[in-house]
Symmetry: C2
Subunit: 150 residues, 2 copies
DNA sequence: CCACAAATGCAACAGTGTTGCATTTGCAGG
DNA sequence: CCTGCAAATGCAACACTGTTGCATTTGTGG
């Protein structure tokens, strides 16, 4: 069954795209669906490989880059760099749940743990600087890796 | 005038390299000198372009990668990823002076700016976790890139 | 001074991201 | 329902970043 619309908590990707003021295309809907379904930010390579079960052909590599750029430009997706230097994208709503706490990155296993603490308020910026994102990351060994190393 | 040795506060790069237990080569000395002289982490491309005034020929691209890897492997340099996804290297001692303040990473030009503010104290960690490093990064547009974008 | 392991230089390659251009498509307006 | 146009797509080619293999050179301990 295909719903023609959706609840306020879970709007259809196509509606989000339309509301953002850009054209609703199959590519954009598919990509935004994938980003919203993913529990972690996705790389371009990971998304290129998604057959998505839909009968559609795979998305062109360049088109995927441009779709992602457009989603970022209209605020529906976020772009970040992982530790290997590869861009990763996430749905804009997804990080809201991660914005309010601190992350601990284990240098041993590479795992990311969410801590309860809130990130502290940012300091004053020099004139002309525009803040977009605050990242408070702790690095170290998690309980498991610490036990192994000792 | 060329000093044959140096003070304890400012050891020669060649001595640091020798002390690290790896061969002292012209490439390593030049690169470590550049890293120690730089006020910001340098990208591979930036270092490749350094004529350094010395009469030496430019360093081979691959050799530069390997020199950097070796400096990182023996603890004399640090490797990080900037917001554009390119690796940046810094002398290992340099980050000690960076540990006590906050960084602003420009998502436009990839530049890193040091702010005056101190990083806030880390929150309590779960049992067994060991803290090694605290990173408080702000992301956004620097004054230059902000002016271009507007 | 010599030998050997480490480091270098060169060529070729892989992955990631971008640009130009012709064609297709979403969407608004008749 | 058509039609036009700007936006989006697909394709080819390119640029940049980083890596691997291999022959040659060089630093260093003996």
């Amino acid at each position: 069954m295909v719903r023609a619309s959706a609840t306020a908590e879970e709007p259809l990707s196509s509606e989000l795209i339309r509301a953002a003021g850009v054209k609703v295309t199959r590519g954009r809907v598919r990509v935004l669906d994938a980003l919203r379904a993913a529990r972690q930010p996705l790389s371009h390579a990971e998304m290129e490989a998604l057959p998505a079960g839909a009968g559609d052909a795979a998305i062109d590599r360049v088109t995927l880059y441009r779709v992602l750029d457009s989603l970022v430009a209209c605020g529906l997706a976020l772009k970040a760099v992982d530790t290997r230097g590869v861009f990763r994208f996430s749905a804009a709503g997804a990080q809201r749940q991660h914005a309010k706490h601190v992350h601990f990155r284990c240098t041993g296993c590479g795992g990311v743990f969410c801590l309860k603490a809130e990130p502290p308020p940012p300091p004053r910026l020099p004139r002309g600087f525009r803040l977009q994102q605050v990242e408070f990351d702790l690095r170290g060994l998690c309980a498991g890796c610490g036990a192994l190393a000792s």
